[in-house]
């Protein structure tokens, strides 16, 4: 499948025709709506909040934010950032309720500290991995964006960014940049292994006071059904703790593996590896 990220920068790709096509397609509308609802579920907002929508486009996700029922904790007020003037033009024609700004997320988030309760971003942050000119780098853009976002969220706030990484490299690059900025970060994957797998980067700012809601993504998904938690950190910690007796077969095999990884010539392992020699006389 072709990726628009590979063809043109976002402000040129989403021209008038493309912006209209994007907004009127009922298929895209449905997908965007379901992803926004999923992101809202992860944000778990209980009262009307101030939300930043990064890459708001024509306001498809914002519309949902401002239409939430008062009984469900809405309606929220939102501020949308986007780099494509054509998309914002469509948003104006659709008369969305939030405030719109023409801004590049890779240049930072121009809000003072602690402005927002939450941030949401649907199918946008993978664009950060592209640097359009030699003066900027993708790592620089990523770090400026996540640093700005971290500062503009209040303590205990959350951000959910749905994104389409091109490969595993981009995925780790994005989540790594978020962790570097100070976020507690985790990735939730819906429908893993299928064609329409959706990745949500769940970011938390500081631990909140309430038990079980703060910390990181494991606190966010606690109580949700059908969620398997794969905690790479725990696995690593457990592996480190398990002690291998020096001189045992496992220890020898481990050493041989280490040496092999270094590129040394290592004798083949067999069932005799690590066995004691018999006393011959």
């Amino acid at each position: 499948m072709s990726r628009p990220e590979d063809t043109l920068p976002p402000d040129l790709h989403y021209n008038d025709a493309e912006a209209r096509k994007y907004t009127t397609s009922s298929r895209i509308q449905n997908i965007q709506a379901s992803m926004t609802n999923r992101a809202l579920e992860l944000l778990d907002l209980s009262s009307p909040s101030m939300i930043l929508d990064i890459g708001c486009g024509s306001g498809l996700s914002g519309e949902i934010l401002s239409s939430i029922d008062p009984s469900a904790g809405g309606p929220h007020i939102w501020v949308g950032m986007d780099i494509s003037p054509s998309m914002l033009d469509v948003a104006l024609q659709r008369d969305v309720e939030g405030d719109l700004m023409l801004a590049d997320m890779g240049q930072g988030v121009p809000f003072r500290a602690g402005s927002f309760d939450a941030a949401i971003s649907i199918s946008a942050i993978q664009w950060l991995c592209n640097a359009e000119s030699s003066e900027v780098s993708s790592t620089g853009r990523l770090s400026r964006f996540f640093n700005g976002l971290y500062a503009s969220l209040k303590r205990g706030g959350r951000a959910v960014c749905q994104f389409y990484p091109k490969n595993d490299l981009q995925r780790t690059m994005i989540s790594g940049a978020a962790i570097k900025a100070g976020f507690g970060a985790g990735i939730l994957e819906d429908d893993p292994g299928t064609k329409n797998a959706k990745l949500y980067l769940v970011l938390t700012v500081g631990g909140s006071a309430e038990e079980g809601t703060g910390g990181d993504i494991t606190g966010v998904v606690k109580g949700m059904e059908d969620v398997d938690v794969l905690d790479a950190r725990k696995k690593h910690r457990e592996k480190g703790r398990r002690e291998i007796k020096k001189g045992s077969k496992a220890w020898i095999l481990n050493k041989k593996e280490q040496m092999e990884r270094k590129g040394k010539v290592v004798k083949n392992s067999s069932k005799y590896t690590g066995r004691k020699r018999h006393i011959t006389f």
């Binding site: 009262s47 009307p48 909040s49 101030m50 008062p70 309606p75 929220h76 007020i77 501020v79 950032m81 780099i83 914002l88 104006l92 309720e97 405030d99 719109l100 700004m101 023409l102 801004a103 590049d104 240049q107 930072g108 121009p110 809000f111 003072r112 602690g114 402005s115 927002f116 309760d117 000119s133 003066e135 900027v136 400026r144 503009s152 209040k154």
Partner: protein, 127 residues
Amino acid sequence: MKVLTLNFLTCAVKACKTTSTSFPLHPKDCELVSDTIAPNPQLLLNVLPRIDWNALIITAGELGFPTLPPTPPTREELESNEKMMTELHTLLLETQISEGSLVCGNCGHEYKIKEGIANFLLPNHLV
């Protein structure tokens, strides 16, 4: 652009991040429009502690609004005072800047506002 949003916006230029004069941004030659929005008292109560009251006084003065009290109302005061609630609602949410520009007090960079959309794109050397 709502006055509430203006209360959160700072200059995007990197050199201005550390100075206190870069906030609030000063509206210049602004056309205001009034948009009716359903009142939402819970939202106002939620954002009240995060509003920079001194900045709001400056902004309201520059936009030509009647003077605000020197100190922000507490949560209880706002909850009991319905008149103040509607006034704040009108100022923060219903008053919107449609045309004009925002000027940074430190570097003097002008952010144009057109049809309510502020342009915060910066040339590369300022980022």
